[in-house]
């Protein structure tokens, strides 16, 4: 019977979740003015909306990974939500294709204030060799910051799950 096998497997596997990394404040692009009371709320629970603004799907693989048991992002109170109207953070991968420019702007506008934008990946941040290769052209607006304001940039191709967690935490934690 499946239930018996499932329970057996759960007990045998145990808990594989690892402690959260510390926020990496160096990923912040601007000095964030955060009210202590806002932090008190968001420090407990943060909702994120992921927006693929034209990536190769590489960054998305690592977003999936942080939802897995090793990183257990929901355990830290960070949760992915289906609508921009329900979130505090937009996690955007790029480069922003011109065919998604309008959709990205509308998503940004639909997100209530206060909000943070995390740009993920070398293409989305416009950095490194890869960011250069995927710069602006007839079909692409280039990096995320070319289209909407960005608070935190997480470079990498793709960034590792730990770097991504550090970036998300840097966006919403107090400067320490």
């Amino acid at each position: 019977m499946a239930t018996h096998l499932i329970l057996q497997k759960i007990f045998k596997t145990g808990c594989v979740s690892e402690p959260m990394p510390a926020p990496d404040v160096s990923m912040r692009t601007c000095e964030q003015a955060l009210h202590a009371d806002i932090l008190k709320v968001f420090g407990q629970a943060v909702a994120i909306r992921h927006v693929d603004a034209g990536s190769c799907n590489g960054c998305e693989l690592e977003i999936h990974a942080i939802n897995g048991p090793h990183y257990n992002i929901e355990g830290a109170g960070v949760k992915f939500a289906a609508s921009p109207r329900h979130v505090d953070v937009l996690l955007v991968t790029g480069p922003v294709s011109r065919n998604l420019e309008t959709a990205l702007k509308r998503t940004y506008e639909a997100t209530p204030n206060p909000k943070w934008v995390v740009a993920m990946g070398d293409c989305g941040c416009g950095c490194g060799e890869v960011g250069g290769l995927f710069g602006e052209n007839y079909a692409s607006c280039g990096k995320i910051a070319d289209v909407i304001p960005v608070d935190v940039e997480v470079p990498g191709c793709p960034p590792t799950p730990v770097a991504l967690l550090q970036g998300i935490l840097a966006a919403v934690s107090a400067g320490k």
Partner: protein, 515 residues
């Protein structure tokens, strides 16, 4: 080569790869002969040859036949670049023809559906980005919201659900227009092209090493497949040999990629039927697998490990031991999880008879790759047309007849086990020697085609090098081109809440087809 009644002038360009040129009017004749002998159309694209000796434009078609992959091209005049509609013989040609028009202005004469496909509003109807005189960095036009004439379904009780381009989950962007009655799907129409990055234009004028960096990032989950196919094409164009150790390592990377993707999708299939246990277990295994890749090869997804002439990373003897241990453990655990999936009544109830693509329809519409094999389309380039090192590996093909979500899950399970076996066999027989050879210099314009069975299906990359060795035209082809239209068919009559499950069972690429 004799196909049907006629002999066609084709020359061998590589193992199981044939090359030919013919008049545009002959294309439907060849296509019909291939169709009647059980072959398929794999890819269709165009090129601007006005600066080449031939002049004008050209339409290129890749067919799969009993002999292997046939790459033919037909010259088209510069004034009226037209070719006969091939969607009569092969319906999968339709979107490719529309994309070829959007990008190059070459028109399929007589085609029924001539709506734009990759073009939204980033460039005008009379602009063609892949023409050589198109300036890729011209000032962007003012953004207007894209208007696309969807086919409307009308009648009592019919209503539409528009979904996307930005989806509710962590998925790539695309638009799905459902017409439904109650909860049943009457029609699904897809609108893709949102992630169009001008990728083919970005290749133009680059050196082959930079091109490899771009090829890796065509579709991140298939980086090994695309970069290998790209490198194979460049090596064929320059007639360069690759060291045997590098060839074996490339296959190792491709199988590692296949295992990683299947593990992730098997987890998501559980998740989509509310079995979060399945998601957590498979993603634990996938993470262990990715971490090992990161440790052994320096990148969790093996980006930039395959380069023209060979590979950049080696596998040490201690690395082999580590990889073997993890292979054994994952195989054991996947067997345990498969037993649970097999036994789980709720999961089976959702998987069985959901999202069916029947074999006859799959054959008619050209369903390919892993999804094709789940609908009795027994094609696997590693089996029928093996390139080195697969010619010595004796790959066992996984097939199923039912064409439902369960069949696609079963094929994935079988492929995980087979790929684990291949990884062990590749390690046990890893040749010694160099990792990378220097490419032969080119004196004249040359071309090549790479063909790799990626985890979704056959990935091909066609490359033309200019006389100075830079890239003149690169066309990457993802099997999602053929399979997206089948998803429209597979969901018919299903309930809307099953769409995510059916979609995930295919897991098609957006960026790979949007380019």
């Amino acid at each position: 080569m004799k196909i049907g009644e006629r002999d066609w002038a084709l020359r061998q360009a590589g193992p199981h790869i044939w090359r030919g040129d013919l008049a545009a009017a002959e294309l439907p004749v060849l296509a019909e002969a291939i169709r009647q002998t059980g072959g398929q159309l794999v890819a269709l694209w165009g090129s601007d040859d006005r600066q080449q000796a031939a002049g004008g434009y050209a339409v290129h078609v890749a067919f799969m036949s009993a002999e292997g992959l046939l790459w033919v091209h037909a010259p088209l005049s510069a004034e009226a670049p037209q070719f006969p509609d091939l969607s009569v013989q092969f319906p999968q040609a339709e979107r490719m023809q529309r994309a070829a028009f959007d990008l190059l202005g070459i028109r399929a004469e007589g085609a029924v559906d001539t709506r734009k496909w990759l073009r939204h509003s980033a460039w005008a109807e009379n602009e063609f980005p892949l023409r050589k005189d198109f300036d890729a960095h011209r000032p962007a036009p003012t953004v207007v919201v894209d208007a696309y004439p969807f086919i409307r379904v009308e009648g009592d009780g019919v209503h539409e659900i528009p979904v996307g381009p930005i989806h509710a989950g962590t998925i790539e962007p695309g638009h799905f227009r459902f017409s439904i009655i109650g909860d049943r799907i009457l029609k699904l129409e897809q609108r893709l092209g949102y992630t169009h990055q001008g990728l083919e234009k970005r290749f133009e004028g680059r050196d082959v090493d930079t091109g490899a960096r771009l090829a890796v990032r065509i579709s991140g989950d298939s980086c090994s497949a695309f970069s290998w196919a790209y490198c194979m094409a460049v090596e064929q164009a320059t007639q360069s040999a690759v060291p045997p150790r590098a060839v074996a390592l490339r296959a190792l990377f491709l199988e590692i990629e296949r295992i990683a993707n299947h593990l992730g999708d098997l987890g998501y299939l559980g998740n989509d039927v509310a079995l979060a246990f399945g998601f957590m277990q498979f993603w634990r295994l996938k993470e262990d697998w990715l971490r090992l890749s990161g440790k052994l090869f320096g990148h969790r997804y093996l980006f930039d490990c395959i380069v023209p002439g060979g590979v950049t990373v080696d596998l040490s003897e201690t690395g082999k031991i580590e990889l073997r241990v993890v292979c054994d453990r994952i195989e054991q655990e996947v067997r345990e999880l498969k037993a649970i999936y097999d036994e789980h009544a709720g999961l089976q109830d959702r998987f069985v008879n959901t999202g069916i693509c029947k074999p006859a329809l799959a054959a008619r519409l050209g369903l390919t790759g892993m999804a094709g094999r789940a609908s009795a389309q027994a094609w696997d380039a590693r089996v029928q047309f093996p390139q080195a090192p697969y010619d010595r590996l004796d790959v066992v093909m996984a097939t199923h007849r039912n064409g439902d979500v369960l069949a696609r899950a079963e094929v994935r399970f079988a492929e995980v086990f087979e790929s684990l076996r291949l990884v062990r066999q590749l390690m046990a027989t890893l040749p010694t020697g160099e990792l990378r050879a220097v490419l032969e210099p080119t004196a004249a314009s040359s071309e090549g085609l790479g063909w790799v069975e990626g985890w979704r299906g056959e990935v091909i990359v066609a490359v033309r090098l200019a006389a100075d060795g830079t890239l003149d035209r690169v066309h990457p082809h993802d099997p999602s081109w053929q399979n997206w239209p089948l998803l429209e068919v597979g969901v018919l009559g299903n309930i809307v809440p099953d769409f995510p499950l059916i979609n995930k069972s295919f897991n098609l690429s957006y960026s790979g087809q949007d380019l």
